[in-house]
């Protein structure tokens, strides 16, 4: 009894994991090698046909490019924003700082659906507050369409994604900044280093482990992000902002080809496993350092 108790205690969690993770993943993997069509029913094994169809699809190439840009661009933007805010908060330590930090963290806790709709309305060409400000300042013409323009729609989704992710980066950078030994800054000051020089030679190198972890986490989460793009643009206009997770939905529940949708989701899964392995490697390296 004593020996089996740990397994018994683990069993519910293992069963739950098997039910909600292993089974769907296994079923998805099986479906990716079969003809599974919601309209025509399930056919036989098709080998790698579904994968071949995915890679041959012109939307796949577009979505892959968009996803890479969205994940990397959105994350870098969030990291830049998070670092800037963290530096400001670290410098300006007042009694209001905790409250300001809390307020600045709000985008992180807002539901992505709500955030998507809020951004959609802020970017509305005729009634959006962003256009009102930008047009008021003479930066853009009134009525400029952001989400209806194939050249700017993805960029807008990227900004919204960065807005959601920057508080997490901010908190991580704040922790990273606090762990930098004050002696390093004092020594640099004695040597007459300017603020920019201190930032480049001390702050940034010390934040490198945090930055690399954040970059990988941000790319992984954004690579997998369905909600922001779907709510804001549904992959449009004319597929200009199509990303891989939205394309999985298109294949599975618009074209009703679950086999092809499963194949694409396995491709995404493989890419995320690779990124996660990289993340773990960075994390282990950081801990060793």
């Amino acid at each position: 009894m004593k020996r089996s108790l740990p397994y018994l205690l683990l069993a519910p969690a293992l069963l739950f994991t098997a039910f909600v993770l292993v089974y769907p993943l296994g079923q998805n993997l099986l479906n990716s090698f079969r003809a599974v069509h919601l309209v025509q029913g399930t056919g036989g094994w098709t080998g790698l046909d579904n994968y071949r169809h995915v890679f041959a699809d012109r939307e796949f190439t577009l979505a892959l490019r968009n996803t890479a840009g969205y994940a990397l661009g959105g994350t870098l933007l969030a990291l830049a924003g998070g670092l800037a805010v963290a530096l400001l908060l670290e410098r300006a330590t007042t009694r209001a700082t905790p409250l300001v930090t809390c307020l600045l963290s709000l985008p992180w806790v807002i539901s992505p659906v709500v955030a998507g709709f809020a951004w959609k309305w802020m970017l509305n060409d005729h009634f959006g507050i962003l256009n009102a400000w930008l047009a008021g300042a003479g930066i853009v013409n009134p009525g400029t369409s952001w989400l209806g323009n194939p050249h700017t729609a993805l960029l807008c989704a990227m900004v919204a994604r960065a807005w959601q992710f920057y508080p997490f980066a901010m908190v991580m950078f704040l922790a990273g900044l606090e762990s930098i030994p004050a002696e390093q800054y004092e020594a640099a000051s004695v040597d007459g280093a300017s603020a920019v020089r201190r930032f480049l030679a001390i702050t940034l190198p010390n934040l490198r482990p945090v930055s690399s972890v954040l970059l990988l986490l941000g790319v992984i989460w954004s690579f997998n992000d369905f909600t922001t793009v779907f709510v804001m643009t549904r992959g449009g206009p004319i597929d200009a902002s199509m990303v891989l997770p939205v394309l999985v939905r298109e294949f599975s529940f618009v074209h009703f080809d679950l086999g092809k949708g499963s194949a694409l989701s396995i491709v995404i899964f493989a890419a995320l496993v690779l990124l996660s392995a990289l993340y773990l490697r960075v994390l282990v390296g950081r801990e060793r350092a």
């Binding site: 309209v39 369409s145 194939p150 529940f253 618009v254």
Partner: protein
């Protein structure tokens, strides 16, 4: 301790017997879309059905039109789904043809029930030799013109394409003098693939073009009339700049906002639009007129086809209670029930002869236009792939042509090629 256990056991055993109508037949009824007052009316109607049929309990669920095909396919392919559901009538081809809907013509009293409806309405529920539902409400796509803007310019609603284009150009204005137009002649619903196709195809139909041949074997989206219709809208967007620049992102909400705030003068809509405008901007007036025809067809404007869209109630072929579902269907869609579409603005047009020919119907503002248009309107071709073609092939190519990424003729050639491959099973 023991008395407590006994009491709990007795309670547990007794609870099921307290369940309401535990011998009742349960019918699941899914309702997609609809204005709040329609949903309320349906609830009341179902309640009175249950009073009249104590052995039947109806469980109603309200769903969004946006996800209708995804939801239904997911349910039906698992062998589940509601007993009765309201869907577009052209689903008779897609879902009826796939064996998901019950052929209601097999019920013994169908011939009598069929007589309630205007013939073209009940025919829209037919695919092959079977009828897969009863008409719920009908829609003809028309042009709505913002009365305030038209009257201010002193122009009448257009009847031909050249009048339409001229009106849109004239109504595109910079009203606040900042050098940028803030009022546009036409707003299009570009952010909704299905909705966009439904609004562009009326122009194709008015020009005599058809999406498919009558034998449903050949796609004809690139017919000259269709290409001309697409060129008209593309020229309005690219040359005249009289179409709202951001239309590719618009949902119905944005279209309504622009129309109500006088930033758009015209839109292609249907009977639901008056209610939407009233909700947003009570008292706002607009003209409801047929979609314009090409100039050379002006003489036949009164009989040129527009798009007919109809909603029908269908019974799930796997329902364990088809007889009871049929009774509910008839109760929801009989002549007496259909009068609700006349007495209240429920967002569509009645479908029975009794309702449409009633004295109350004659007093309604827009109804004559809709009834006249419906008399010549055509539904989407009854091909199981038609909705996929309209949403996933026609709309993206048409939108590319409108914004100038490809010529209208090139776009429709490409759409025709892809759609043909789809119906031939090559895609």
């Amino acid at each position: 301790m023991r008395p407590i256990i006994v009491a709990l056991a007795a309670l547990a055993l007794g609870l099921p017997s307290c369940a309401r109508n535990d011998q009742a037949v349960v019918l699941n009824d899914w309702n997609f879309g609809g204005r709040p007052r329609l949903i309320e009316w349906l609830r009341t109607r179902v309640d009175s059905f249950q009073v009249a049929h104590p052995g039947v309990r109806v469980v109603q669920s309200q769903k969004s039109w946006n996800m209708i095909r995804e939801l239904l396919y997911a349910e039906y392919s698992c062998g589940t789904g509601p007993d009765i559901v309201n869907v577009h009538a052209n689903y008779a081809a897609e879902f009826g043809g796939a064996g998901y809907y019950y052929p209601v013509n097999t019920f013994p009293d169908f011939a009598q029930v069929k007589g309630w409806y205007v013939p073209c309405m009940i025919e829209a529920t037919r695919y092959g030799d079977n009828y897969y539902g009863l008409p719920s409400s009908a829609i003809a796509f028309v042009l709505v013109c913002n009365k305030e803007l038209f009257d201010r310019e002193g122009i009448a609603p257009p009847r031909t394409w050249s009048e339409f284009r001229a009106a849109a150009r004239r109504l595109t204005r910079d009203t606040d003098g900042d050098g940028v137009p803030d009022q546009y002649g036409l707003v299009l619903l570009g952010g909704d693939r299905g909705g966009f196709a439904y609004r562009l195809i009326p122009f194709f139909l008015k020009a005599g073009a058809r999406p498919m041949t009558d034998d449903l074997k050949t796609v004809t989206l690139n017919a000259p009339g269709g290409v001309a219709a697409l060129r008209l809208i593309a020229d309005m967007y690219q040359v005249d700049h009289s179409v709202t620049p951001g239309f590719l992102a618009y949902s119905l909400t944005e279209v309504n906002d622009l129309f109500c705030s006088n930033r758009a003068a015209m839109s292609i809509e249907g009977p639901w639009f008056r209610g939407m405008v009233d909700d947003k901007c009570p008292g706002k007036k607009f003209y409801t007129v047929p979609v314009p025809v090409p100039d050379e067809l002006a003489g036949g404007a009164d009989t040129a086809a527009t798009l007919q869209d109809m909603v029908m109630y269908a019974i799930n072929a796997r329902s364990p209670h088809p007889e009871q579902a049929w009774e509910l269907l008839k109760y929801l869609r009989n002549e007496e029930a259909d009068m609700a579409w006349i007495r209240q603005d429920l967002g569509a047009t009645a479908t029975t002869r009794a309702a449409l020919e009633s004295p109350e119907a004659a007093a309604l503002d827009d109804l004559p236009v809709y009834v006249r248009e419906l008399a010549h309107a055509r539904p989407w071709p009854a091909h199981p792939k038609m909705i996929a073609i309209a949403s996933d092939i026609f709309t993206p190519w048409a939108e590319k042509a409108i914004v100038g990424e490809i010529s209208p003729a090139g776009a429709m050639d490409q759409a025709t090629r892809e759609a043909q491959e789809l119906i031939e099973g090559k895609r």
